[in-house]
Amino acid sequence: MTPVMADDDFKDLAEGLAKLDPGAIQRFADVFGRRFCVYFLKRGLRPSEAEDLAVNCVTDIALKVPHYYRPQQAGGFERWVFVLAYRALIGWIRARPPMPVGTPEEIAPADKIVKLRTEEDSPQLLAVIEAVHEALQQLSPSEEAVVELRDLSVPHDYEEIGRLLGIPPGTARVYHHRALKQLRGILEGDPRIHRRLRLKTGCKPRERNG
């Protein structure tokens, strides 16, 4: 199961990067460089591509910290770094030559990434992630577990979810539908989601009570 993202624990690292501390920069390169590469590999880049892009991201993102990262901003350092790496991945996929016909499985994950929202800027993407994170925390533990297994990891069917959680498949389905309905209500009322709803569908968020 993919863990729901933990709260940020890289405050000291971000502060060190902002001060151009060599030790902090090396720690960033070591910790996040690996993550970049592994993530890019999982998203269908070839090993050489994943390594090259990861190396680029280490330099580019470390340089952005003193000028763009704000410690008080929502989401924390880890998610801020992710958004920049995600955008770098999209840029890389778009810029690379077309893959030869006959390699759909290899490029499938990368193609799916490009189909995700890519038009928003980094703060907007970060705001969406943060809104979803907070909305998930409002679900019951059972509902959150089902959403994690169904929507936040390799998708499991209800039979598998039921087996993993020790509940009947029908109950897993009910939990899932109930959780998504609740998530929808929360997110529709969230002004951070408002902008993209307006852009995409012309919807307006519901008024929040209180």
Binding site: P3, M5, G33, F82, V128, V132, R150, P155, L180
Partner: protein, 205 residues
């Protein structure tokens, strides 16, 4: 294939959420995957590349700090960069290699524009200032004298405007004397560099 089978089955069963919510959850899922990629081991050669990337970031960061302190100096780009590197005590060659710019002056070929825009972004140097340094290099070749000397000769008592404006105005006067082919080349360089900066800006949003 197991993952694809699962995805197919998931797709057949459908999702009860609207498309925009699927999309928001997909973005969150990407962030969670990134988070889950922590702690995996990598080959030693790649680990060394990461350390090198870190050292490069540190060097560029020091150059940027130095540039912010020094500000504009009316010298060609190569001279300016060498000066920054010397004062900041960092090696310039890896930085130029990072942006794919030849270490050979005058850095004014159009093919270098993308690299120069990346360098400008790294150093926090805007399009206008970077272009001004390139134009200074061209003027010095045309006039056979340093621009700093040319500027001083025009205003022995000191300048009324900020140095960067004074320099820009003087260079514009000199450029009016350029042959049509040289002027066209300069305009192409300006446009290419401008486009490269715009592309960097879009990617950075």
């Amino acid at each position: 294939m197991v993952e694809h089978d699962r995805q197919d089955r998931f797709d057949r069963e459908g999702s009860p959420g609207p498309a925009w919510m699927d999309s928001a959850l997909a973005l969150y899922r990407e962030a969670a995957h990134f988070n889950a990629a922590a702690g995996e081991t990598v080959p030693p050669a790649f680990a060394e590349r990461l350390r090198e990337a870190g050292r490069l970031a540190w060097a560029i960061g020091k150059l940027r700090r130095q540039r912010e302190q020094i500000g504009f100096v009316p010298v060609p780009l190569g001279e300016y960069l060498r000066g920054l590197a010397s004062v900041a005590a960092v090696a310039l060659a890896p930085v130029l290699a990072w942006v794919g710019v030849s270490s050979t002056e005058p850095f004014d070929d159009e093919a270098s524009a993308s690299g120069l825009a990346r360098l400008g972004e790294g150093l926090g140097m805007g399009f206008r200032q970077l272009l001004l340094h390139l134009r200074i290099g061209l003027v010095e070749r045309a006039e056979g004298a340093p621009v700093a000397v040319l500027l001083a000769s025009r205003a022995p008592g000191g300048h009324e405007r900020p140095l960067v404006e004074e320099c820009d105005a003087m260079i514009r006067e000199v450029e009016q004397q350029y042959a049509a082919a040289d002027l066209a080349r300069l305009q192409r360089l300006e446009k290419t560099l401008h486009d490269a900066y715009a592309a960097k800006d879009t990617a950075a949003r």
